[in-house]
Assembly symmetry: C2
């Protein structure tokens, strides 16, 4: 994989040029894209032109190439949201996040595959670790492109588990920041209350570098020492749906953190989070039925059966159901802030298992509640199942404490490496 | 003005047809649009075709024509957001709110004038009460079209005071619901944390009818009797910037409410709302500099001086400033909920005065804090200044209690009429 932080440092020192990084991506794309199919569009020639711009090496992203999930508008690439309803669509402007990436000196290399409207219908993308497996979704192409070394940075989005789950399946770092840390205008919405823009990169330090460069915030973790975090294990309400390998992986991660000096506790799973878990589906369904009113009412025949069926059923969710779910959420957010008062991060699976067969993008059962809580989540890599496929564990931080979450994730990533 | 509720009832009873309502709009448009310039595009022929659709009279909006501020995407009208940057832009889909209006049986008659990207640069629209005055902004065309009897329902949006202020200046009812009661996907954002979709109509019962029909929520106020609300007068931190006529109008409204049986109190203006007032500008500036990154970075020369200057200055707002303003907001929202524990609604000016000269859209100083608080706001009509121009007073309800806010506004509207 391409380390964004390492490449940025080498560009900064003059060791390599932004154009040379494009070449590295192009080589990996040549070698693997035919099999992986991570991209819906690519513009290597345009990227090479842009890489010659003066002063790039001094800008926050140092001219690094970025892949953008095709759920975000781009003025210079088609933007189809993974659905034939928008075949050939060319927005007139860039999504805010895309414009911020360009402002920071990033170069958009191409658009990465999204599942249809960022829902559950599997995409064409294959898992780089095993082409007969799903890369996960909905940010399928972004996760796969990082895993295959075709990009150092990629953008995704998460409404249920669309960043953390594909990151786990593809063995890359996924960062779902606090709700709205990264701007969403120009993202094709599914459920506004949940839709969160996120990032993919090789390691925690890479994704933190990218997030810091894009937002201008103090989010980097590549400092000399990181204080040992206070971590609480969260087996959650769906622990019995985690594979034996995943259950072992979580324990391995906890042990590694303990061995590295972290204070690891295991409080009981609080009922308010199970309530919030249930509320997620109500909120997502109610909002999607309204947010996708144009697509559902005008282009029903172009929707996949899985999305159409969901929207058919979502029509029955009432405003009272929705309002009650919003109240449950509000209470849970407050209770979670208290619950985590003495904790820096929760440690929980990123997905129930390693990558599934490609007829599904996998369940988001270990992700939904955190998306609803709006808390920062980081998929941490380094663990494997019995067959050698990546298993992801997740650091969940406190709302608005993204730096602390990234620091805890960096700590854990290193601890897992040391323990391996 | 055309009463949406009255027209809906007459369609329901078979007294008139949706097509006949389009004709009423067309007559007013013929008579006044040349002077007022409320529309950027109109499709009377298309509306007449749609008005023939079977079953329209049974759908919630009864086939009523609706004007949509040109800040919302529409698949069948150009969508230019009031800026040459998007000249000729044709989105592939409808904004969620537009799709919901069509789903409810509304007919989009045309796009109404927005100021440039919904900011402060005055538009071409004139105030129907005095063509030498501003209609207010940024939902200039929507407010003016209602005032001129050209539409029974119009859609707008508010980030500072872009619904309530033009409603006040044009003497129509404006309803800025609780944050996100009406969906915003497909609205061209300015500051996501603030941008709120709203509605215009002739009276409170009309706007409540429209909001109920679009959302399927129990928001109507056309019932036999309305309980007298508990109202608190809020002169706010900028009371000294209200004109003498406006100061008198607020007292007149309070007296009318008291005479009608409302319990009217006047608690001291709490400091946390002045803090929130100040936080609004920080949040709007910080977000706009990011949300409009594409327009600012790629098309700077096409921005108006007033917007360009704002964005130039906004670049200096730091993430720390923004985070502090968000914390101030969070505290103020909690404190406001407590402050209003025994109050149904606040009564406050909608704008400092009647409509100003057309070189400004007027100050949003009586609106910003409520947009930031996310509370429902209704401009209530019926009062005038010494020269006979409309003066608007505002009912501010509790977050999520939109029905109660509309009921209080309906009560006040009637009380003002009785007192007049």
């Amino acid at each position: 994989m391409l380390s964004a932080l390492d490449l940025a440092r080498r560009i900064e020192s003059g060791e390599i040029t932004p154009a040379a990084v494009i070449d590295l991506c192009a080589q990996a794309i040549d070698a693997r894209e035919e099999e992986i199919q991570a991209f819906v569009s690519l513009d290597l020639a345009g990227a090479r032109r842009r890489a010659e711009a003066a002063g790039l090496a001094n800008r926050p992203l140092r001219g690094l190439p970025v892949g953008v999930k095709d759920i975000f508008d781009t003025a210079d690439f088609p933007t189809e949201y993974g659905t034939p309803i928008y075949a050939g669509n060319r927005p007139r402007g860039d999504a805010a996040l895309v414009a911020l990436i360009r402002r920071a000196g990033g170069i958009v290399l191409g658009k990465t595959v999204t599942t249809e409207l960022a829902f559950l219908n599997p995409s064409k993308t294959h898992n780089p670790h095993d082409a007969s497996r799903s890369p996960g979704g909905s940010s399928s192409g972004s996760a796969a492109a990082i895993a295959a070394g075709m990009l150092p940075i990629a953008v995704g989005s998460q409404t249920g588990g669309s960043v953390i789950r594909p990151a786990a399946y593809c063995g890359v770092t996924g960062f779902k920041p606090s709700y709205r840390l990264l701007p969403t205008p120009g993202l094709k919405h599914f459920a506004v209350y949940l839709d969160t823009a996120g990032l993919f990169a090789a390691g925690v330090a890479d994704v933190a570098f990218a997030a810091a460069a894009i937002t201008g915030r103090d989010l980097r973790v590549d400092r000399a020492t990181i204080a040992a975090p206070r971590i609480a294990i969260a087996r959650t309400n769906v622990w019995d749906q985690a594979s034996t390998d995943m259950q072992r992986a979580l324990d391995a991660a906890a042990n590694a953190a303990t061995a590295a000096g972290a204070r690891v506790t295991e409080p009981a799973w609080p009922a308010f989070l199970t309530d919030a878990f249930d509320a997620h589906a109500v909120i997502q369904d109610y909002e999607a039925f309204r947010v996708l009113a144009f697509e559902y009412d005008q282009h029903r025949e172009l929707l996949s059966p899985i999305l159409r069926d969901m929207l058919d059923k979502a029509a029955a969710v009432t405003a009272d159901d929705y309002d009650a779910a919003r109240r449950t959420t509000k209470r849970a957010r407050q209770a979670l802030a208290e619950f985590m008062g003495e904790i820096d991060a929760l440690l929980t699976p990123s997905a129930p298992s390693a990558a599934p067969r490609p007829d599904t993008t996998g369940p988001a059962i270990f992700n939904r509640v955190w998306t609803l809580m709006g808390t920062p989540c980081v998929n941490v890599t380094g663990l494997k199942d019995a067959s050698g496929l990546p298993l992801g564990v997740q650091i969940v931080g406190r709302f608005g404490r993204d730096h602390e979450a990234l620091l805890a994730a960096q700590f854990l990533e290193k601890a897992i490496k040391v323990a391996a």
